[in-house]
Structures are given as structure tokens and as C-alpha cells.
């Protein structure tokens, strides 16, 4: 399919003109998703929007919102004899309280970067003498495929594979955010690919209870501008609704097969979000039926109590309370090559996106 049209400068210009004409008062919007943060920074969209529209970045980088306690746990798995940790690359350099997975690897522990949970299954099949612990980090976009991998492992009778489930679910966290008096957000650019799974219904409360306009948005420049236009239109008209701009990939019902997969393997659990705290029922614990694939039960570990990273304001950045370049360490002590906090490590972290793609990095 030809996606070039979603990058068409002429269409983008039309939308920008329309946004400028509609946003006649200051309007603060938040892009929730890290992939949006990158798309917006990379395409310089903040610079082409009128001054009246302010875009804040939110908590939608799964690696960034992972708590130090969870990162410490992942690191502890890597230190166990006979255990191989398999992880998405983004997790490698994230600093926990005292170390990181990449430092553990340099110290001789077996940590492997994989692209898909299917690779972790293949690893388990190839190396039956090792126990493979897959570090499950991600939102509803990623959780169903980890669930599918667990089901595949179950069907194949794979005994040396388990998952550390540090997954998180998005909608309730948005409720906590818009309810936070420190966070002044009037409209939400909702994550496109989380929504491709969960659909529209789980967000309805944002408009109904909190009166915050919310639009599910795609990732090409024209998609993002369309999302912004839909949001400023709602604000100008005094409406609050949850709408889908990214209709080609997000049917209203999402992906029921994927949701059933999550339901079957996981159950809701409380989860700690960096910067936000514990939010009830936003984690996914492995159900008892699949307990043999739960790394926490298979390879018991007890990491030391977590400590926060001195000077890092990642937690405030994730709530849109502090902009990345307002952190004193931004661009000096903290740069992508030697990051201090997770928001600078992950390719989708707000600090990394601002540093790489805007001139704040050099200013």
C-alpha cells in the first residue's frame, strides 16, 4: 500500500493552516506514545505548528516507565547460573539501581538481544541446557505476542522458557495523569498501535468522566497533524469525545483475538510506573494455569531494595511536568552515549528524542 500520501507536504500544509485557524487560544496537548514523540521530533512538527498549540510528551515509552525495582529484577535474573536473559534491545542500557543488562553482559553473564519473542522460543529449543528468561516489557501492543509465545511454548511442551512479565496497560494510567493537578493537559493524542489492539472503548472514560478530548492517531506526519486538527477542533467547539483518526489500522473494536490472548494468559495486577507510582490493575501477571512460564516462580530472585537515580527527572518528564531540556543533566552529564536515566536511553524516550532531533540538544 502506498503510504507516501501520508507524508505529502501539501496535505500537511492544509492541515497546519486549518489548525492555525482553529486554535485561536493556547491549547496544550500531550502525545502519550513514545513512537509519536519520535515521529513528532523527527519531522520537526513542533516547529510547524502555531504557537498556540503546545505538545507535551507523555508516559508512553514502555522502557522509560519501567520501575527501577523491575529493572533490578531483570538484572538479577541475568546473574543466576544456567539462566540466559533474552530481551528487546531497548532494555540493554537502561540503568537500574546499581547496574544495567549491558553491564551484566560485559561482566560475562548471558544476556541476548532478540527481535521477537519467537526468537526466545527458538533459543530455548536450541539450548535445552539453559533456562531462557524473556524480559516482557511493553504495552498492549506487545503483551498479546508475549501471550502467544507462552501459548506456543505450552503447546510445544517447552520446559526451559519463562517470562518476567513487566507489561503495563495504558488507559488507567492516562486517567491518573489527567487527574493529576500538576499536569495541565487539555487533549490527548492516543497511541495508534496500543489502540489497534484495545480499540476505542477503554478510553471512553477520558471524555465522559474527565472531559478530555482524545484522538487515536497514526504515525506519519499527515496522521499526526490530522490528530492535532481533530483535537483542536473538539476544544474549539467545546466538545470532548474519543475519536479515531487512524482508521486504516484501528477498527473501533481493536483486535479481539489479541485481547482474548492477553486475557487467557495474564490477569490484571498492580504495577509501579516510574514517575507516576503504583496504579492498580495496570500490570499483567501470568495466570496460574501458565505458572510454569512465570520467571518469578521458576527462577526466584531477591534483588536489593531499589534506589532512585540521583538528579534524574525522568519521572517528571514522563508526566509532562518537566520538559527534557529543563533537566539540569540534559545534554551535559546525560547524553545518549552515556545516559543517566531511562528517558535518555530508550530510542523512544523523550529526552533522547529531544536530544537527537531538536536543537535543544546543542543549545
Amino acid at each position: 500500500m502506498d503510504l507516501d500520501v501520508f507524508r505529502d507536504p501539501a496535505l500537511a500544509r492544509r492541515l497546519i493552516d486549518r489548525i492555525t485557524a482553529t486554535a485561536t487560544r493556547p491549547m496544550t496537548l500531550m502525545e502519550v506514545c513514545g513512537t509519536h514523540t519520535v515521529a513528532i521530533a523527527k519531522n520537526g512538527l513542533r516547529d510547524v505548528l502555531p504557537d498556540s498549540v503546545r505538545l507535551l510528551s507523555g508516559p508512553g515509552c514502555p522502557v522509560c516507565v519501567t520501575s527501577n525495582a523491575d529493572i533490578d529484577t531483570a538484572i538479577e535474573f541475568a546473574r543466576q547460573p544456567g539462566v540466559t536473559v533474552a530481551t528487546f534491545g531497548d532494555m540493554m542500557k537502561v540503568p537500574g539501581s546499581r547496574s544495567s543488562l549491558s553491564r551484566e553482559k560485559a561482566d560475562g553473564h548471558d544476556v541476548r538481544v532478540i527481535y521477537s519473542p519467537l526468537d526466545a522460543l527458538a533459543l530455548a529449543e536450541r539450548e535445552p541446557e539453559r533456562h531462557i528468561v524473556f524480559i516482557g516489557v511493553g504495552f498492549e501492543t506487545t503483551a498479546p505476542l508475549i501471550a502467544a509465545a507462552i501459548k506456543r511454548a505450552h503447546a510445544a511442551g517447552l520446559g526451559n522458557f519463562s517470562v518476567f512479565s513487566a507489561h503495563k496497560t495504558v488507559p488507567a494510567a492516562l486517567g491518573a495523569l489527567v487527574n493529576d493537578p500538576e499536569v495541565a493537559v487539555e487533549g490527548l493524542i492516543l497511541p495508534g498501535h496500543v489502540s489497534a489492539i484495545i480499540g476505542l472503548a477503554p478510553y471512553r472514560f477520558l471524555a465522559e468522566e474527565y472531559r478530555v478530548p482524545s484522538v487515536i492517531t497514526g504515525f506519519e506526519p499527515v496522521d499526526v497533524l490530522q490528530g492535532v486538527w481533530m483535537l483542536v477542533s473538539q476544544l474549539a467547539e467545546g466538545r470532548a469525545a474519543v475519536e479515531i483518526g487512524y482508521t486504516r489500522s484501528v477498527p473501533e473494536e481493536g483486535n479481539p483475538t489479541a485481547r482474548a490472548m492477553i486475557e487467557e494468559v495474564f490477569e490484571p495486577a498492580d504495577a509501579e510506573w516510574r514517575g507516576i507510582g503504583v496504579i492498580p490493575s495496570t500490570g499483567l501477571a501470568i495466570r496460574e494455569e501458565y505458572a510454569t512460564f512465570d520467571a518469578l516462580l521458576r527462577v526466584p530472585v531477591s534483588p536489593e531494595p531499589p534506589v532512585e537515580i540521583a538528579g534524574c527527572q525522568c519521572g517528571e518528564v514522563l508526566r509532562g511536568v518537566v520538559l527534557p531540556y529543563e533537566c539540569r543533566l540534559f545534554g551535559t552529564a546525560c547524553v545518549p552515549e552515556h545516559p543517566v536515566g531511562p528517558c535518555m536511553v530508550s530510542s523512544e524516550g523523550s529526552c533522547a528524542a529531544y536530544y537527537r532531533y531538536t536543537d535543544y540538544g546543542t543549545a
Binding site: M1, L3, V5, L11, R14, L15, D17, R18, C33, G34, T35, G60, C61, P62, V63, F88, D90, Y115, S116, P117, L118, D119, V137, G138, F139, T141, T142, P144, L145, A148, K151, R152, P191, G192, H193, V194, A196, I197, F219, V222, Q226, W229, G245, T247, R248, S249, V250, P251, N255, T257, A258, M261, S346, E348
Partner: protein
Amino acid sequence: MCLAIPAQVKSVGELNMAEVDIMGVTRHVSLDLVPDAVVGDHVLVHAGFAIQVVDEQFARETMELIEQIEFIDSAEG
């Protein structure tokens, strides 16, 4: 991390695995989450799994909608 890339299904093999074309590169992905996808469909691929079928009709409608915005504008002005 929620990045998903559009791909086209080329063939469907055993164990729900499909061959897809991602901008000229062939990859093997699981169709566990989109059991209704058929050869020729465009799908979104995330970490080795197709997670959604992309609807071309809706893609076209979005474009028409955006084009109409300007049409209304020039009609007004």
C-alpha cells in the same frame, strides 16, 4: 517500542507462520493474532507478529476527508 511496520502477506505456511514483504524484504511472521489475514492483505508487524490488518478503503477515506477540509475552506473564502 510500539512501532509496527506495514507489510504484505505473500504466503501462509505451517503453524500459522506467514511470509511477508516489508518494503522489499522477506520476513517470517506469526499470524496468531490475525487469524483471518489472507495472502495479499496488508498487515501491521510488531516484533515478529502481525497485529492488525490494514484497511485500504479507510486509508483512502482519510485522504478524501483531509482533501475535503480544504474544499470547505475555499468554498467559504
